[in-house]
Symmetry: C2
Subunit: 463 residues, 2 copies
């Protein structure tokens, strides 16, 4: 955020605190509704009521569309029915549907009743699509013309709708049955003679998406193919609406936050609220699940260690370097899984690439493990006397150090491979790779690291 914007927001917060209506109005005039929504989120309940009253229903409608899900119902409820009607009526249909998806069923019925019949009908149709699908995200206000029109017809047709049409960067051409037959650009209309037929200007539509498809697929298509507008069709290729680049930004941001959070063992739907506005209860609920599961799984590793009781009591100093060996496995496994999960998210890895991934990570694991073992081995041989510690009789410091180094190398090599293959395995059994990776790797690598460590120690040191 620019400093200038931060300053305006701060002054606006002050003006709201002072209940200075005219100052608020003046400051808000320069702000985009995305900024206004942020301002609204940052102030307390009384401030919010003051701000909504000051701005009025119509100006507020665009802000409402930018608010997090959890604030929508409460905020909309604070208006009189007539204002609610005004807000809902002035919104583009995709935003209206978004808002109605965020409120309770009974409220949704009430709010729908406020609209005139045409809009009710349109909105109900859109509400049938799941919120996370292309259909649930699309707008129906699009530039649409018939294939039989001339440039003159087309311009006149579009002119009539122009104020309610989201974008005319692409205009879609449909046949008499409403099926998508192509697209033309507004410039093709603007720069051509009026008697030219639309048919002769129409270009093929290379990409469209089914209304029932996942919204993420739609967003990735827009991003991959450098599109501004993606047409949404039904099973018979009838044009239903479009998804625009700004929807795609929102979808991709949501999905990316979700993946990052899952990777850290944070469960549940990503909240649209900002970090600071999310309640302690909701933070707690999303974080406690994996923490508890992992803590109990980690007890397992304690019981695994018990099997090496004898080794451990004979050379308790082995315990000192166990955390390093285990942690190095966690780090390299984490790197490998991060790269593989990211590559899968960008659509680079197909299931048949598994062997290639395994071969690559096996070599990498051996290289990384070899490097670490070599460095720790060097350290063991050349450690300054001050750092050398006394070991039980029969074990010398260098031998002990090399034992740790070999165990470390083996652990890093194994963990790299595990980290890369676990997400692929998860996807194969239809578990979200992002959710399995970090938690599962931690546990599996901890246990395997201990077994490797003590097995190496037993065979080299003979304890």
């Amino acid at each position: 955020m620019s400093e200038e914007l931060a300053k305006i927001l701060e002054r606006a917060e002050e003006a709201i605190a002072n209940r200075d209506g005219s100052e608020v109005l003046q400051l808000c005039e320069d702000l985009h509704y995305a900024d206004l929504a942020e301002l609204f989120e940052d102030i307390d309940q009384d401030g919010r009521e003051f701000l909504t009253e000051t701005l009025g229903a119509e100006k507020f409608s665009e802000i409402l569309a930018e608010l997090p899900d959890t604030l929508v119902e409460k905020t909309l409820d604070s208006f009189e029915p007539e204002e609610q009607r005004e807000i809902l009526d002035s919104l583009p249909d995709d935003d209206r549907v978004d808002i109605l998806q965020d409120v309770s069923d009974s409220k949704r019925r009430d709010f729908l009743e406020l609209l005139d019949e045409d809009k009710q009908e349109d909105t109900r149709t859109l509400l049938r699509y799941d919120e996370e699908t292309a259909g649930g995200r699309m707008t129906t206000h699009i530039g649409k013309i018939g294939a039989h029109m001339t440039v003159k017809d087309a311009i006149e047709h579009l002119r009539g709708d122009q104020e309610s049409t989201m974008t005319l960067a692409r205009i879609f051409v449909v046949n008499d049955e409403g099926k998508l037959v192509g697209k033309i650009r507004l410039r093709d209309l603007a720069f051509n003679a009026w008697n030219v037929s639309v048919q002769s200007l129409v270009q093929d539509v290379d990409h469209s998406i089914l209304a029932t498809a996942d919204q993420e697929d739609a967003a990735q298509m827009i991003s991959r193919y450098d599109m501004l507008i993606l047409p949404v069709v039904d099973e018979s290729n009838r044009l239903l609406g479009v998804i625009t680049a700004d929807d795609a930004f929102e979808i991709l941001e949501e999905e990316s936050t979700e993946d990052i959070e899952k990777g850290a063992g944070i469960s549940g739907d990503q909240s649209e609220e900002t970090y600071l506005n999310t309640s302690i209860t909701s933070h707690f609920k999303r974080r406690c699940g994996w923490l508890v599961i992992l803590a109990f799984l980690a007890i397992l590793s304690g019981f695994v260690m018990m099997r090496f009781e004898q080794t451990l009591t004979e050379i308790y100093l082995l315990a000192l370097f166990l955390p390093m060996v285990v942690a190095a496995g966690g780090n390299t496994g984490g790197q490998a899984s991060t790269m593989v999960i990211r590559a899968m998210a960008l659509g680079e890895l197909d299931p048949e690439d598994t062997m290639q991934v395994a071969w690559k990570e096996l070599r990498l694991g051996l290289l990384l493990g070899g490097l670490l073992a070599f460095l720790i081995g060097l350290f063991a041989v050349f450690a300054p006397p001050a750092l050398q510690f006394t070991l039980p009789s029969g074990t010398n410091f260098t031998q002990f150090g090399c034992t740790v180094a070999i165990a470390l190398g083996a652990q890093v090599a194994t963990s790299t491979l595990i980290g890369a293959l676990l997400p692929i395995g998860a996807r194969a059994v239809r578990i979200d790779p992002a959710v399995i990776a970090a938690p599962a790797i931690t546990t599996i690598v901890d246990v395997s690291g201990m077994v490797i460590y003590f097995t190496v120690a037993r065979s080299i040191l003979g304890v």
Copy 2:
């Protein structure tokens, strides 16, 4: 990727392997250049040469713009100078500049010489901006009209340039000095009478960006304000070019991959190559740095543990549950840092929010730690006899279990706070929070966990 597309790509790979030129041409006709670039990356060197020859220079130019940095020079070099000229000439200027930024200095000079003088001049100007700035990313082929024109002048002016203009979704209006005075939509021209003055239709430009600004700021502005096109200006507000939504998608994807990778301790610039096409050497280089640093830092934790030698030898069983306590700290610290880093990346957290974050995470840490301590405590009290193990005289199983539980609770509470505050601290001293988080948290939390664990054990069990 859709199954249909995957099938076409597979068939194309086969056709290339069989050197079946006409089949390749036919299959490639349906493919978008983003798909063709993927195909090109997936095949071997001989296949690539065959594909470039088959497609020809002009068709290949768009593919070249989509290739990863590391492939650009080699690929362009494989063409004859006349073809190179054709490729570079047919590209939009932002893509041409991107490509020239990816080749060596001497090659860049050679390639520039191939262009006609006007293009050379334009390209040199753009090359002056750093690759990661708005100026380095912009295109100069924009719809630009003078404030004094009429609708008729404007349409005629734009019509002349229409084939080289990237997008006319927004047309920018400049004064005689080239300074940005506003924007109009193509529809405003198309739907108005020819004698209307541009001046009367012009709208304010709410957002523009300096050419020297970071490309990420430009992308976030486009995403935040639902823009299709962002004008890029110099210090005197002269219009230099635009950044479009498709650039923003690319920038945001790159930045997000970079942040994810940094968080896993993967260093260096994110490679534009796919995971499978990145060489082992380059994977190795990017991953070994943090692994080695962390392994040596982890040795520290071994020396910390040595200070508790007496406690450990007296009740060696304490070693069994140390990994669990340490890992739980890593997990909760990781969750907290992930949430805070994400909130910072989305611009939700300002430095003055630090106390709020600390207070929130302190309460969360106590809740999460309390929950875990309670559950492990329950487990200790009610553990089935089969799981109970013998302890040295003077310590009973329940007392031992409660010690572990209390240490766990304290460790989780501390680590939650550390995990949340470290990224904020990193930003305060201008270190990228994404790079510091995971590695630093692992080490700090490991050491603090050990100290907490043994201190609690000493005071409760009296060893």
